[in-house]
Symmetry: C2
């Protein structure tokens, strides 16, 4: 009977572990605590570093210049060492990359919901944070930065290493020009690109909100 | 001891239930089985009906015509009775609605990842399905369709009923013109808007893939 209790408790723990992995999709990478919401630039960096996929929007000339969102994976650096710049591994077989080669205008949108810290809050509520980084999507393959980016991407998306060579995946970066973030009531928080890039994610002042 | 076993088993079940709710964000609404991937129009309708939020992209004149993605909640109908047309509850205090009033070009992007049926697959992999509905985002407040839409929205997002009146939330619809869906290797599945709108989600041919 004692064995059954232990088995049952272990089953609880393994169920918990499995589902947490399912929620996040990248077990063991999610480790930085949620910053205070008033520390807007740090909060924005946290949202970007703790997410691993989002929607990247480009301009679709094929469809009358429509804004074309596309689900993509990204990385802003090695786990918990992100620098805030999103890197992507894209193929021109997919419209996003080919759109960007004709018109670099782009944005990346992320929700706190995917981090798992919104609970059951509606993702449109301002208390479930969201961020859109607006800028230019640039092919950087062949540069030194592309090697750093590739390491950042493969560290969070191990599977990318095995993506078919024939598809010619290449490294792109989002050169950020404007930041739109809502993480509480009262409208978007004003954040400059400079504030965002200079924010220190690991500073001791970080606390769980 | 027997009581402890029962308690422990019950705890397992409640942990499982709680986390599943956390994953989906809308317990008890997710009930339709995943269609066969070759049944493209039905699969597309399933992706839309089983998701409850995504990224809605519009054209931002404020930011040089950039495609501006924004995290929003939506509904295509009463739970599991969706008609495939996404409805939104937006305020012009948020840029998406005000963008759409100047330029209706828009798209809505969704991932199967949020439904919870991708397991640990990378959301950029073609085996984790994604869909982008491209079209025109139209304000329909005051029409008969808006009342159906409002019921559809409130059924999936009960919280919306309590959103502040002073923010003047209004009902918008995405008038779909093009459909981009990847749900397996081999590129996007060709689906016409007519096929999509006429697909029957509840037909007996549906099976879990």
């Amino acid at each position: 009977m004692k064995g059954l209790v232990i088995f049952s408790l272990l089953a609880s723990i393994s169920v918990l572990g499995f589902l947490q992995e399912s929620v996040h999709g990248r077990p063991s990478l999610m480790s930085l605590p949620k910053p205070r919401r008033d520390d807007a630039a740090v909060f924005a960096r946290w949202l970007v570093s703790q997410n691993s996929w989002g929607v990247l929007s480009t301009v679709s000339r094929d469809w009358g210049g429509a804004p074309f969102g596309n689900v993509v994976s990204f990385s802003d650096g090695l786990p918990d060492k992100g620098k805030g710049i999103p890197y992507f591994y894209l193929t021109t077989l997919d419209p996003t990359a080919s759109n960007a080669l004709k018109d670099q205008r782009s944005s990346l949108s992320l929700s706190e919901y995917n981090i798992g810290t919104c609970g059951k809050k509606d993702p449109e509520l301002p208390t479930c944070a969201k961020i859109t980084l607006v800028g230019k999507l640039k092919l950087i393959e062949g540069t030194k930065e592309a090697e750093i980016a590739r390491a950042a991407l493969f560290a969070k998306h191990a599977d990318m290493k095995r993506w078919p060579k024939s598809h010619n995946f290449q490294v792109y970066k989002l050169d950020i020009e404007n930041i739109f973030m809502i993480n509480w009531f009262g409208g978007p928080k004003p954040i400059t690109v400079e504030q965002y890039l200079q924010a220190k994610l690991n500073k001791p002042a970080l606390t769980v909100a």
